[in-house]
Symmetry: C2
Subunit: 189 residues, 2 copies
């Protein structure tokens, strides 16, 4: 992990998800891997940092996460939005979805799940077993064990998107996304 | 509920939160009411629609939600971002936070919590009791029992923001928000 990947202080890793971007959830177990798009992911706690992710019970990613106890959250850049959508259009059971969607992977630092290239930031997560939440709500609680960001877009705990191609994105529906828009500051009233 | 408030089909109410906007959580019990800003809120299920919300154990809102079993999620317009920030700068225990922050309220249809004016959409929620999640993670599961949107910005299951003042917003940190940015469509690959 070097060059475009800068470590993010774990206690500040919630800042990567605070604004509600869409993520790619990547997972792997025993030589099989997968990637899926997800909007229903958010921070749960600051320190140690935890996240919540809703992972449908029928999908291949769920199988890999339950077997490995790990997953990564990858925040795709605007410029790969078409690949994010492609990652939602097939099952990883039918072939390698990275290849299908044209997504490149590289190794994580603390978990076996691969990370996805052309992303703004990455959170490596270990599942905290919560059988009731998983079974009843398809809901996973996980601890963030490592976090990374491209310093061109995130540093010192703040986003600073340099151009449209390297903005994070938010999913609406039917193939439509929003870019993360203009930043603005409010004086505390 | 008329004029600027149009009912949103419950099965489509998740579309109001899918893009990860900041919300105002409003609550009331026995003549006391409160409002707080929250970023850690997201959909959990489609039908019946459910949401997740992280509500800190020490805050006044938590007390009102646990007593009433209800809350509303209000999606503030860009033009009241300063009031959203003000709603995060004091405790409702120290006085009426609606008055302090300059937020106007109006009655909900199915719950006792008030709704907040100058918002893009509203979700009226009833808590599904989950003692373990509430106690261990400050996490609330709730069912959406009514949903509303301003038809100038959301109709037929899609956002269509007419101007900057009436966009939804996303919280970053330190008084800094992002506007919901440009919409774009991807062809399914």
């Amino acid at each position: 992990m070097q060059g475009k990947f800068q470590s993010v202080d774990l206690a500040k890793s919630y800042l990567l998800l605070n604004h509600g971007p869409v993520v790619l959830v990547s997972s792997a177990f025993h030589g099989r891997r997968n990637v899926m798009a997800a909007s229903w992911v958010m921070p749960l706690d600051f320190d140690p940092p935890k996240v919540l992710a809703v992972i449908d019970g029928r999908c291949f990613t769920r199988e890999l996460i339950e077997a490995s106890g790990e997953f990564a959250l990858n925040l795709p850049f605007r410029r790969i939005a078409d690949k994010v959508l492609a990652a939602g259009s097939m099952s990883g059971r039918d072939g390698d979805k990275f290849a299908h969607a044209g997504l490149a992977a590289f190794p994580a630092s603390r978990i076996g799940a691969p990370l996805v290239r052309d992303c703004a930031a990455w959170l490596e997560c270990k599942v905290i077993s919560e059988a009731h939440n998983q079974k009843r709500y398809d809901l996973f609680v996980a601890e963030v064990v490592a976090a990374w960001a491209d310093p061109a877009v995130f540093s010192d705990g703040r986003w600073h998107f340099p151009d449209a191609a390297r903005r994070t994105i938010h999913y609406q529906a039917g193939g439509t996304f929003f870019e993360t828009g203009r930043a603005f500051e409010c004086a505390d009233a």
